[in-house]
Symmetry: C2
């Protein structure tokens, strides 16, 4: 089937399957070897990069839709997604812009087509170790790439705004949520943990302040072994105290009065 015929049929079917006016978009941050990246897709039929996103079936919970969309579009599974913000500006979908995009790609839809209606989108985000997850594109996605957070290309609609907000929320949460359990090896040094924070925050931190602050959260266990095979004095190894880590994740760092 011609690609524009195929996409037109799929677009038409959507009107009967999906909840009107609502979508989900996922910001998947990846950390690996002290780099922070974000997973972006390029639609097979559209020449622009986008966050993995999609629609909600008429009988589907919104949170389940986010997991399904992520799984369908990227193959990623078992990633903990967090709702972080609703984007509800009336002109965020930019109907005219979208229409031109589709037309340029040879896809004709009526001006009142449901795909061109106003969509409020629910933003979800996650932070993963990107060498441990294996995205595989769906039939719509020509291409997907982990983009360095500093080199993100032009994005569809208001996806840049959604990405920026997610990054802002992620950085803010470092103040009251622990991070690192699924990102670092089981045993790590204080400099390795500091580097994770520096990478997310995109700035250098003072070594002593960092150590004092992170130890005050009481989520770390200092091991008796030290790191081998490094020059100079062998640094201590740490691991997370999982019970305390999970409690802090649930209640907040330094929570409780």
């Amino acid at each position: 089937m011609a690609r524009n015929k195929e996409i037109t049929l799929l677009l038409d079917a959507g009107e009967y399957s999906f909840l009107p006016s609502l979508s989900v978009d996922c910001v998947i941050f990846g950390f690996h070897e002290n780099q922070l990246k974000v997973l972006l897709l390029k639609h097979r039929y559209l020449n622009i990069w986008a966050l993995p996103g999609g629609f909600i079936y008429k009988d589907e919970p919104t949170d389940a839709a986010a997991y399904r969309v992520l799984k369908e579009r990227t193959g990623l599974n078992e990633i903990f997604l967090q709702q972080f913000h609703v984007f509800g500006e009336p002109h965020r979908s930019e109907k005219e812009f979208h229409l031109q995009d589709l037309k340029r790609d040879g896809i004709d839809v009526n001006e009142d087509h449901w795909i061109l209606q106003r969509f409020v989108t629910i933003g979800y985000y996650a932070l993963v170790e990107f060498s441990k997850v294996n995205p595989s594109p769906d039939t719509f996605s020509e291409n997907f790439t982990w983009w360095d957070i500093h080199k993100v290309p032009a994005l569809m609609l208001d996806h840049r705004k959604i990405l920026d907000k997610a990054l802002d929320v992620l950085r803010r949460q470092l103040n009251y949520q622990p991070v690192g359990y699924n990102l670092l090896p089981e045993k790590f040094t204080m400099p390795e943990l500091q580097k994770l924070y520096e990478t997310i925050l995109d700035k250098k931190l003072d070594r002593r302040n960092f150590q004092r602050k992170i130890l005050s959260f009481q989520i770390l266990r200092r091991l008796t072994e030290t790191k081998k095979g490094v020059p100079h004095k062998a640094p201590y190894l740490y691991s997370f105290d999982l019970k305390k880590y999970l409690k802090a994740l649930d209640e907040g760092l330094n929570a409780g009065w």
Copy 2:
């Protein structure tokens, strides 16, 4: 006009004015004289209490809809509302239940009426000094009351779940957001501030731990004057350092590495 005719016309008009599938609900917590309450409305035509909520005009930002709904239904203005969660379970609106409710009140709508469709709702919350705000009911609301948080009556649909989630978010935020600027007098004692926290958290706190922790946030200024007209040793008065308070509100308590 007969009341059921009136409401039927209004319900029908909604389909053309509002975005489908989406609503907003507001949880307004009120603090006054060491009591925590929540503002609930009883609809003129329905015999059940509910959170102030409503729909989103087709060209209206979702956040603006929340402010408008709150203003229209309660007269409350200039209250800072925070998005806190999206409630997107498919059966949260309980179509059959809603239909029976309407029928019992003599309002007949078709099974496929837009008011009976699935609605995803965006929850907003605020915490105000309730003696300073003056709610006034709209034409739909027979009655509105500040309910003690321990004595909330049966609520419409899943509004109890929305209220509980808002309370949970409010309590959790005490760990990383300052509170009190719009709730306490300009000058207050440490026991008055502690009582505010105890009221929100619904538990007694240790006096010394509380003082140590709250002072560590560096958002308070101890004044040279002491509280007059109290027995025993006159307690110190404090006020918020507004600049630091606002910074902590924006970035989080003890933020920064």
